[in-house]
Every structure is written in C-alpha cells, then in structure tokens.
Symmetry: C2
Subunit: 405 residues, 2 copies
C-alpha cells in the first residue's frame, strides 16, 4: 500500500479551479450555470472560483450568450493566448519545435532533420537554441513540454532503449533541460504525449473513459489514459505495447525480448520489407523509413500486388496489437497515429477484421478504432499537451508563473 | 475527454476521513501526530477529523503509546471488529464464503464444491443461503463482496466468457444480489479482487506504486493497482493477461483469439499435459485440474523427469506472462497466486530466469516477483477486500449503514 495524502482547503480550491479550466478548455465559451451543472458544484461556489480566476487573468467574460436552457447569461472563456506552451518532439532523425496555447491553437512550428549518427550534444544545442528563440518571440509562454521515444525512465530522465540510436542512451534529459530556461519543462514518452494530445486537443465530443493512443512509427508503443489519468507504472514505462511478444519463439529484439510486435509493423520493419521485395518503389538509395512507408502505400494504392502484400501483413500485425490493447486495457477508443498511420485507408479495414475475428463480441463492439486526425503531428502536439495538462492541473501556479515570466 | 467533477467541503472531509482510515487499516495503532505527518495535514485538522470518526464509532482511543519520535501520546485504532465483511468466492467448481473484518482478520470460512454441469440457479441458492446464515450470526457485517471469474462486464453484471462453463454466461450477478440482502454487495473480477487483497491485507511494509497480482489457476488473468486505484477499463475487463497472445499463429482459444497465454499455463492446461504424459501421477480417473497440479508438483519434487518437464514448460509461460506484465504495466511487484502457484518453489527460479533474459535491465531489476503468501485464498480474501475498499473510501457511509443494520 502506498502513501496516503490528505487534502486541505487550498487543495480543494485548486482542484475546483482545475475542473473549471478543464471544462473551458474543451468548450470554449460557457456560462457559470453551465459550469455549475457540469461540475456538480453550487452556482455560488462557481461564482467565487471564477472571480478568483478572473483576478489571476486565467478566464474572462465575453458578453451575453444563450445557454443550453435558452436563458441568456454572461459567457466565460479561458484566456488561452495568455498561456502559451512550447512543444518539442525529439525523434530518431529529426526534432520539431512548436508554439501553441492551452486551447491547442498553433502559432508556429519548425522541423530539423539530422542523420542517425549525429552527436547528441550537437542536436541538443540546436534544439535549445530554437527554444530560446521562441521564448524571446512569444512572451506568454508559461511552460515547455518535450516528447521523447521510450521506454523513457521518468525519474532517471533518460531513455532506456532506443532501437538504432544507442548514443542517446546516456543523455539525461532532466539535467539537460531543468536549468536551461526560466520556465518549467515537462518530459513525456512520445506515445503518452500522443495520448494526451488526443485527450486534450482531439475534439472528442463523446465523453471517453479509457483512451488508447497507438503509436506506429519508427517505434511502436501506446499511451493509455483512464478517467483522465495517464497509466504510467512505477518508472513511467508502462504500455510498451511494441515490446509485447506476438510470438515468444520469434526473433530476438534489441530490448532482449523475442518476437516483439515492433519487429513486424514499425516503419523500419516496412523499410526492410520494401528493400527486399519492391525496391523499385523507393525514391532513393538510402531512404528513411518514413519514405518507405509513403512509397509502399502509394504503390499499393496503384495496385502493385507485392506492395499490397506488405500493407496487408503490416495491418494484420497492427490488428494483433489492437487485440492486445483491448484485452490489456479495455479502451473505448483506440487511435492509431504516427508515420505508419498515413496508410490508414488501406490499413483500417484489415485491422478491424482482425479485431472482429479475435476479440469477444462484448468487447470489440464497444471499442472504436480510428486513425488520428489531429491537425498537428500527434507527438509534437503531445509535447504541448504534456505541458498543457500540468497547467490545467494547477492553474493558479502557472498564472503566477506567466505574470513573472 | 471525460466528465469533470468538482469537489465540495463534505467531499473533502470524507476524503480526509478515508486517508485516516487507510493509515489505521495498515498500521493498527497510531497517534494523531503520526497521522498528521503521514497525511500532510495539520494536527488541528486531524484532531477534528478523528473526533468526528470517534463519534461515528469508526475509531477509538487505546491508551498511551510511544510514537516514532519517542514522545508519548494517545494511540488511535480502527474499530475493525465493528466493520465486518462477508466475502464470497465464486469459481468453476466451488464457491467459498468467509467472514472477515476491514483489518483483514478472518472469523469464519467455508467451501462448497459442485460439478461443472450443476444448474447455476441451484448454486446461487446455496450461496445465498450461506450468506443469510452468516448475516444472522455476525451482526456487525456492513458490506458483502463477491469475486467472480472474468472477463466480468461490470455494468451489465455478467461474465462474458468463462472457459468450460457457458451456462453461467447469462446469469446476471447484479440482479441476483442487489435486492437479496439489506447490505450493499460489490462484485469484482477475481484477479482484481486478488490484487486488492494483496494491496490491503498483504502486509507490504515498503510503499508500492504499481502492484500486479497474477492469477494462474483455472483461468489466467491479472489485477493491476496503480497509485491505489484498480486499472479497470471502460467495461471493467482490463488486464485480461490470460487472453493476450503469446503466439498469434497458435491454436484458437474459446475467447476467439489465437495462442492465448491461458492455453499454455492454466491449471486445465496442466491437467491435459499430465493426462497425456504422466497419467500415473493422477489420484483418480476423473481428477479436477487442481488435483493434477498438486500431483505434478509432487512428482517433480520426487524427481520424475516427465513431471519436471511439464513444470518447466509451465514456468516458462508464466515467465512470458510476467514479461508481458512488465512491458505492459511496469509494476514494482508481481505477486503470483491461485492454484498453480502452489508449485512456487519449483516455478519461481525459472520464471525469474525468463524475465532476466527477456526484459531490459532497467526494468527487470526494479520489479520484485513473488508467490502470494496470504493466509487466506487470495480470491476469497479479495472478495472481502473489494467490499473493504469501499468502506475505506467512504467510511462515514458504512458506519451509518452499520448502525442501521
């Protein structure tokens, strides 16, 4: 049994502020009565909470609106533009930096490519330089979020295994970033970040209980949010679906396990198959794995049978991954994102057929499987969502930080 | 994004009562100062909370104790015996009923066997009769917990698939039990119940972050508790580790999936192997699967090579299950329980070797794997823990119920 923490009145106030901000983050404009109804709190309580948040500059009034009950009342909105966020995606051969606000609005983004063998310190310097430039340009930034490939060891601040980029194994992200800027930096595993992006910025109008974001790209992994909370595990490395065996007697993976899902349906696995079976599709002699994905989906759409076979095999394994996610986490939605999901129209029917065949009806009829349709790369957006989630959790803390900054 | 709920002052008070009760449930006797330190609340706040709980009869003073700081102060204890719980384990060929209290103390237990093909209504009648008898005999019962095999569909109140007992598929447990007694009944999946038993009654002195209870018996499944909360999924069927494939091209399981872990290391899988390879070990012509387990472990300990092979194969697959649990949930402890775990001394070294070989060092060195050493069957104890957890969550509600009852 773990530590038991009591709550005092200021915790309570902040929890309720957080509830109000989360509602406004999703619904743009709301009346006090609407918020009272959705939180289950009295209108008097909401009036008091809103007053304190207007004073802090977190929310403001926007004139008269007509509520769901047809009554006219004063509308409230989040001062999202006063709470900007820098998101940073770090990947095997590129990093991206973007400026957002806590409503998910995008102000700016840029992408920097580098080769596999690049010195990590050079990459980090370039990344920091870009972040400093953004901080100079956007004065309302309250926090920075960084998404890294996993398994990322949260307390240690480093990545345990990144297939194909072992030089990064020793970089300590917490050390690198904690003193660099005068804003708090939050670091999250890429699949967890993607899950937060879908949760906060996905525009899901139906209430969700358990969301699974299934990242299928250079790596394969999942981020699971149950009742608003990421499932992390003790070191923050839970939901490493890509390293769950689909065949315990299969070939060995770099992680030490055998027959890992990642070996069958990741972008590098597709690259390998394309090189072997349809090399004529490839745009260059030394293509990145994402180029191979684009090429094979294009060839399959044009009717190339060998390309179609690769797509079918890939989709089947993504389907097996979905079956594992359903048996392992019982989500109401699985959202597939990252490089491989660009073949969504080809992949989805096969994935759904695999799930229908292999999961009991009571479960498979309950889960919706879709391809991510976020307007920004889910991992970059997720980096921003990681920092946004912290702001939504402790709104008064970040409002003060915003004023100081 | 899901519904956002605000908290009012009475919620806050009950959350803090819950925190105090959880500390006393684990530590038997504590001073107000100790509780203040552990909850992070002021001593004045604790004094007020404790006063309200003494009035409700939930806690009482037990004289002078010497605290961790060597100061003498008044000890507090939970009135556990005033909060008794009836736990009911329902399994494929038996049910068990026990009387406990919220400290995990056992007052009484009984077990009833029946054949596979028994009419479910007959079994339910016998079960209800025994519960009524216990309610007449033990007047301080505040709640009843029931543990059932899974996947159990929480909202629908029924079991989706129980391998080998399809007649139970249509029984609605909520309907059967909700009006039967004048005490609240809580129903939980057997592996989740076992996880709660370990969490609440396991006597773990180290704080735990993520606990995995790995049930290996007639079925195979897991219950995961992260930061005090069961991971459930939208229908309550998460963590069905037994139906995660270890070979996606393996034989078909009753659940529809292929190569499910459960097919390789459950008690019925052992029974099948023993019948084929060492039938001379079996005590009778038509043995239960648990008899086969007992027999094969005994024969292996006596040096029978064929029995040792079955044990090794079983342990390897339990090991693969542990690898999946580590990659999927990143627990700090995995506790293996139920019928198959009686071969713990034979199984554990092999399981640990498989995990060491297949999991990255950063993760496998962090996780402790052990065999359950609870003094009561983990599923029966878990049934009691399921109801206990509800009492600990809303102590004032059940104190009132206790008085009325």
């Amino acid at each position: 049994m773990t530590g038991v923490i009591g709550k005092n009145n200021s915790d309570l106030t902040e929890m309720n502020r957080s509830a109000v901000v989360r509602i406004l983050q999703q619904q743009e404009v709301c009346s006090r009565a609407d918020i009272a109804r959705q939180t289950g709190l009295t209108q008097a309580a909401i009036t008091k909470i809103v007053a304190s948040m207007m004073e802090m500059g977190i929310v403001s009034e926007v004139g008269i609106i007509t509520g769901s009950d047809n009554r006219r009342s004063i509308g409230l909105k989040l001062n999202a533009d006063k709470h900007q966020i820098i998101g940073v995606k770090f990947a095997r051969q590129m990093f991206a930096v973007g400026v957002f606000d806590i409503s998910g609005k995008i102000y700016f983004q840029t992408e920097t490519k580098y080769p596999f063998e690049e010195d990590p310190q050079k990459v980090l310097s370039a990344m920091k330089k870009q972040i400093h430039e953004m901080l100079n340009k956007y004065e309302n930034v309250v926090s920075i979020g960084l998404a890294v490939p996993g398994p990322y060891l949260r307390d240690e601040g480093r990545i345990a295994v990144v297939t194909q980029m072992s030089a990064w194994h020793t970089v300590n992200f917490i050390e690198e970033f904690k003193e660099e800027f005068n804003k708090p930096v939050f670091i999250e595993h890429d699949a967890n970040a993607g899950a937060l992006a879908e949760w906060l910025f996905g525009g899901h109008t139906q209430p969700l209980h358990t969301l699974a974001y299934f990242l299928v790209g250079d790596g394969v992994g999942a981020g699971i949010i149950e009742r608003g909370r990421l499932f992390l595990g003790v070191q923050g490395t839970a939901c490493e679906t890509g390293h769950i065996s689909v065949d315990v007697h299969g070939p060995r993976c770099e992680c030490g396990n055998y027959g890992c899902l990642e070996m069958y349906c990741s972008a590098p696995a597709i690259l390998k198959k394309v090189k072997e079976r349809v090399p004529e599709c490839l745009p260059s002699e030394n293509p990145q794995s994402s180029d191979a994905c684009t090429a094979v989906f294009e060839a399959a759409r044009a009717g190339n049978q060998k390309a179609m076979d690769i797509v079918r095999e890939t989709a089947e394994y993504i389907g097996y991954g979905c079956v594992t996610l359903i048996n392992g986490y019982n989500p109401d939605i699985i959202i597939i994102g990252d490089v491989v999901s660009q073949g969504g129209d080809l992949l989805l029917p096969i994935i759904q057929e695999v799930v229908r065949q292999r999961v009991i009806p009571e479960l498979h009829t309950k889960v919706r499987i879709k391809i991510s349709d976020l307007k920004v790369d889910p991992t970059l957006y997720g980096a921003a969502a990681t920092a946004t989630d912290k702001v939504l959790q402790l709104p008064s803390k970040f409002s003060a930080a915003g004023k100081r900054g």
